[in-house]
């Protein structure tokens, strides 16, 4: 539902995945190491030190700019943003102010009305990350902070959109598209904790703009904005004014809260960074070769593999998923459409439930599972059970078994109809018990359902089929069971 009144803009900060920091040679691979172990005089901001710009950061930033159709400035330069905070060790952040690297551009998303939309961008620039604060103590023992400067100097790219999104959902789609694009370019690792931060601006038509700072999860952006729309609409409904302010998103509670600090009216006293020289990199643009990007890959999946648009969209929405899909079908081109459904719908859900990444799945084993499904050796229900076994094994840090092994172990082989085409069909057996017997037992145990069926209630059939399926533990196709039960209840068996 498009709300014509909602206007959203985003400022997205992503850590660029270079080996060394923006202005010094410290390694960027700090997440598993102790505090203050990835710092040097430069990123610690010791007096007398000077920044030296990492070429790869500019190359990566230009790749991003090219992929979203920006123009590169003839001359760009760095500036100091001055403010005082314990995690900002020089008391200024080196960023770009009035001469950013790139201007304009757009990101295409599927709008809320189903049509493709271009979300316009304002600019893209490069800046450094500050350090990280841990808040300690309490009112009695006294409050203080602990600072870790490992993160200080990590290169960030800031992508600023125009206030062009019309709903929290569009904001989420924009963010997902941007994330996917950056992953495809190989300049960003979305799985690294804290690698993406978003500031969101939202206003309802006629009201003041509210800024929500420092949202650190993708889902959080949509939630925070949804909360804001509700909050602001409630204020307006009660005849109150929406204050122009900065708010924080509290992830755990799913709400936004007014920021009590006086950050809003900060005068940052920007001036050009005297220790760095300007950039003339417009001419580099033509030599930048972009890899296949999400939209092009989505198109190719539709053309080459016959995926539905929706499946293609889901599969190409994450680089790893797209790669996984292609790895699976490369091994066995026959399983294309099965793979699309099973990866986009089933696997994604099972991974999400277990908080696992698609890295955990062996595409060959997965392909093997699809092969069993394709040849009809197991039912869909059994397929899910096998998949769950495989994933759970990985979660317990064991090597998952081959799908066939699991099917054997759990006795999930599908039993199909045997016998001739004559009216007297011999119903299959599970072990020693025949399906015929199971059906008779279910009918005896549920006389009311049988009567309901004969009274014309089709729902009763589903119930009886469900009971039979439960007893036979997925070894039969639901449609087959349906036929046998129907036949048993007295309708003509259709072949």
């Amino acid at each position: 539902m498009i709300d014509a009144d909602v206007v959203v803009g985003l400022e997205v900060h992503c850590q660029l995945d270079t080996k060394s920091k923006l202005f010094c040679g410290c390694s960027t691979d700090y997440r598993n190491d102790g505090p203050n172990t990835h710092v040097c005089p430069v990123c610690l901001g010791l007096p007398g030190t000077m920044p030296v710009l990492n070429k790869r950061v500019i190359e990566y930033a230009m790749k991003v700019a090219k992929s979203v159709n920006c123009t590169i400035a003839d001359e760009s330069e760095f500036a100091r943003k001055n403010y005082f905070y314990p995690d900002l060790n020089k008391a200024y952040q080196i960023t770009q102010y009035d001469k950013p690297l790139a201007l304009g551009g757009y990101v295409e998303i599927e709008g809320d009305d189903g049509k493709e939309r271009k979300i316009q961008l304002t600019r893209i620039h490069v800046e450094e990350d500050p350090g990280r604060l841990v808040h300690m103590g309490n009112a009695e023992r006294g409050r203080y902070s602990l600072v870790d400067y490992n993160r200080a100097g990590i290169p960030l790219i800031e992508i600023v959109s125009e206030p062009d999104m019309r709903s929290p959902k569009e904001a989420r789609k924009f963010l997902n598209k941007l994330r996917a694009t950056l992953e495809y370019l190989g300049v960003f690792d979305s799985e690294k904790e804290g690698s993406l931060r978003v500031d969101a601006n939202i206003s309802l038509r006629g009201s003041e703009r509210v800024e929500i700072k420092n949202i650190t999860s993708y889902k959080g952006v949509e939630k925070a904005l949804t909360f804001e729309v509700t909050r602001q609409k409630n204020l307006i409904r009660r005849g109150l004014k929406v204050e122009r302010e900065t708010r924080h998103y509290l992830e755990a509670r799913g709400i936004t809260q007014s920021a009590r600090s006086k950050e809003m009216e900060n005068d940052y006293r920007y001036f050009p960074e005297p220790d760095l020289r300007p950039l003339h990199v417009q001419s580099w643009l033509k030599d930048i070769v972009l890899p296949e990007l999400p939209d092009a890959r989505r198109e190719r999946f539709v053309q080459q593999y016959g995926c539905s648009l929706n499946h293609a969209r889901t599969l190409t929405g994450e680089l790893k998923m797209a790669n996984f899909f292609e790895a699976v079908v490369a091994h066995d081109t026959g399983v294309c459409s099965l793979a699309a459904t099973w990866i986009a719908d089933t696997l994604a859900g099972e991974l999400n439930y277990r908080s696992m990444g698609i890295d955990a799945v062996d595409p060959i084993k997965f392909g093997g599972l699809l092969a069993l499904l394709k040849e009809g050796s197991i039912t869909d229900k059994s397929g899910v059970e096998v998949l769950r076994e495989m994933l759970d094994a990985v979660k317990q840090q064991k090597v998952p078994e081959d799908p066939k092994t699991i099917v054997n172990r759990l006795d999930l082989w599908k039993i199909s109809e045997t016998g001739s085409a004559s009216s007297g069909v011999i119903l299959p057996k599970i072990g020693q018990i025949s399906l015929e017997v199971v059906i008779e037992n279910v009918k005896k145990a549920n006389p009311k359902a049988v009567d309901d069926y004969h009274a014309g209630r089709k729902g009763a059939l589903n119930f009886l089929v469900g009971q039979v399926m439960k007893e036979t533990r997925g070894k039969f196709d639901p449609s087959d069971i349906n036929r046998y039960v129907t036949e048993s209840l007295g309708d003509t068996l259709k072949k």
Partner: protein
């Protein structure tokens, strides 16, 4: 004309901690200097600077960092490898 209120505001912006005793003296000195700066009002030109150096860049190569001890050694207070700082309230 810079007033004492203006100087107080600048003191807050700069977090420099001026107390009331110094305010009058600072304001007087400030005004004399800022009045002298007014000569810049008459400067003509567009200031476009011909720079001699641009695109000064380094390769993305990892270099040795300081040890945790070296990095935190000058700090007034440390805790578990972190540096202790007053908290923003």
């Amino acid at each position: 004309m810079v007033t004492e209120k203006d100087v107080e505001h600048i003191g807050e912006l700069a977090d420099i901690g001026i107390d009331t005793a110094e305010l009058a003296t600072f304001t007087g000195q400030f005004n004399a200097i800022v009045d002298y700066f007014d000569v810049l009002d008459r400067v003509q030109g567009n200031g476009a600077v011909a720079r001699d150096l641009y695109n000064v860049l380094r390769d993305d190569v990892v270099e040795i960092s300081l040890s945790q001890d070296e990095a935190t050694r000058n700090a007034g207070a440390r805790e578990d490898g972190f540096i202790k700082a007053p908290r923003v309230m």
